[in-house]
């Protein structure tokens, strides 16, 4: 899978499977994905505050997009994707941080038999301020469409804000739609269990945070590349847990 580094605000077009490393304060991405299967990984590696705008249309394609955001800087993300007839979009997100993150997902079932599935894994550490609007819209005429959202939000210590708003706008009958949201802190009993095996709080936290990165495993077509990204992600988790 080719790998690209975005280092300017110039619009970046995505028309094939790829790994995108963001190394700029503002990234603008446009998808044009038709007729096929695609796996896109967007890894924010910018050591500074960043804005990510991505949008596009998916036609007659099966697309997986994985967002990995582990940097300890502010992020504003605005994602808008339209999924056309018979197309499928799976989105997996991982956000981990102690900083301000403001995320909007605006996903549209535009055609009949379109299918959208988004899974969010969020960890808000001490002093973090996180806000996500996850909006799924099934427009009139998108019969037999599916739109499912699932979000796990874990808060550690005292985040300033951890807000997730799942929204479903449905303007068609004969559709499948759902949203689920689980938010909370680490169960004290789980922590005691892990402590009782010799793990201190940071070590226990490290294991739990790594588990939040696991779903992104499925998104890598190339094993070596997936492993390399995972190792980078694990390194970030280790850095956070040693703070």
């Amino acid at each position: 899978m080719p790998s690209f580094i975005i280092n300017s605000a110039e619009k970046f077009f995505v028309d094939r499977s790829m790994t995108i490393i963001i190394d700029t304060a503002e990234a603008n991405i446009e998808y044009d994905l038709k007729d096929g299967s695609y796996a896109i990984l967007i890894f924010n590696d910018h050591a500074g505050n960043a804005v990510l705008n991505d949008s596009g249309r998916i036609e007659n394609a099966d697309v997986k997009i994985n967002y990995l955001q582990l940097e300890q800087y502010d992020l504003k993300q605005n994602t808008k994707v339209e999924v056309d007839k018979n197309a499928r979009l799976s989105v997996n997100t991982t956000y981990l941080g102690i900083n301000n993150k403001d995320i909007i997902f605006d996903l549209y079932n535009e055609g009949s038999d379109s299918d959208i599935d988004i899974t969010n894994n969020i960890v808000c550490l001490d002093q973090a301020s996180f806000s996500m609007d996850c909006i799924g819209t099934i427009i009139k005429g998108a019969k037999r469409s599916k739109c499912h959202q699932s979000t796990h939000c874990l808060t550690i210590d005292n985040p300033k804000k951890a807000r997730v708003l799942p929204v479903l706008n449905i303007d068609e009958n004969d559709v499948e739609a759902s949203h689920s949201l689980a938010a909370g802190t680490i169960d004290e009993e789980v922590l005691f269990y892990m402590n009782s095996r010799g793990l201190n709080k940071k070590e226990a936290l490290n294991l739990i945070l790594r588990s939040y990165l696991m779903p992104s495993d499925n998104y890598y077509d190339d094993f070596a590349e997936g492993q390399a990204i995972q190792e980078r992600a694990i390194k970030k988790v280790d850095e956070i847990c040693s703070m």
Partner: protein, 274 residues
């Protein structure tokens, strides 16, 4: 010689005093059976020794090899050689057994265990306990049956090599064959490492296999009688009533929270609104 010494231990849960002065000494190689009616302090004793934050020690002391255990955090106690096999082991979704155990083993070593050594040891123990081969890659206790969870506790004990292991009703939820497997594994580890054991169980069958060297009965937060394995057999055949009569004591009645139904809006099986 490894030694765990508990002196005049008083423990509260919230406002309520559960343990009312426990004195107990466990030396390496000894197996102590802890018995008593439900709700009288057996699990509280083990959880307190491990350091569960819900249990407040109001008086007394616990020393492990001369070191003050009460001043240590839970993870320090574990690294000092204590192990608690829990009555209700927690599920940790997303964390695999192998990652969990490797991290736990590494936390007590100066140099991380080699992957080869870890896998070899884990596979050997999984096979000994007749657990499923994919256990290492499954999430900790997630989707496990009651029996699998208990066996997983024993697997963790075998991997962590504690000096003192506390087993809280480890035999409940196990079928006859599994009890034999688990007790054989405990005995083998005990003979190899000479660890000390404190075992809470209601069943003579388990103690017959484990053969305790000491036994204690806790009633209303105090050890009211002590003995050897003969005491276990007597309680199994005669119950506790003779003890209450002889010592003129009464057990604490186990209290359970009252549950009130507010009705339901679910549909009944015939599809009509309830």
């Amino acid at each position: 010689m490894n030694k765990l010494v508990i002196e005049n231990l008083h423990v509260n849960v919230g406002e309520k005093e559960i343990l009312k002065g426990i004195d107990l000494e466990v030396n390496e190689g000894e197996i102590h059976a802890i018995m008593g009616p439900n709700g009288n302090g057996k699990s509280t004793l083990l959880q307190t020794i491990m350091g569960h934050p819900a249990y407040e020690v109001t008086k007394g002391s616990i020393y492990l090899n001369g070191e003050d255990l009460l001043s240590m955090s839970v993870d320090e106690r574990s690294r000092k050689g204590l192990f608690l096999a829990m009555q209700y082991p927690k599920e940790i979704a997303g964390v695999t057994n192998s990652d969990f155990l490797r991290a736990a083993i590494n936390s007590r070593l100066e140099k991380n265990i080699s992957l080869f050594k870890f896998i070899k040891e884990m596979e050997g123990n999984i096979s000994k306990l007749k657990m499923k081969e994919d256990l290492a890659h499954r999430f900790v206790n997630d989707g496990f049956s009651g029996g699998e969870k208990k066996r997983n506790e024993i697997l963790q004990m075998m991997m962590l090599h504690p000096d003192f292991a506390m087993l809280d009703e480890i035999d409940s939820g196990l079928d006859v064959d599994a009890i034999k497997l688990v007790s054989d594994a405990i005995i083998e580890l005990k003979e190899k490492s000479n660890m000390g054991l404190m075992i809470v169980s209601h069943y003579e069958r388990f103690f017959t296999m484990i053969k305790p060297t000491h036994s204690h009965v806790i009633v209303d937060g105090k050890i009211v009688v002590e003995g050897d394995d003969e005491l276990v057999y007597k309680i199994d055949s005669d119950g506790y009533d003779w003890l209450y009569d002889e010592l003129k004591i009464q057990p604490v009645k186990e209290s359970r929270p009252l549950v009130y139904s507010l009705g339901t809006c679910a549909r009944n099986p015939r599809g009509k609104n309830a």
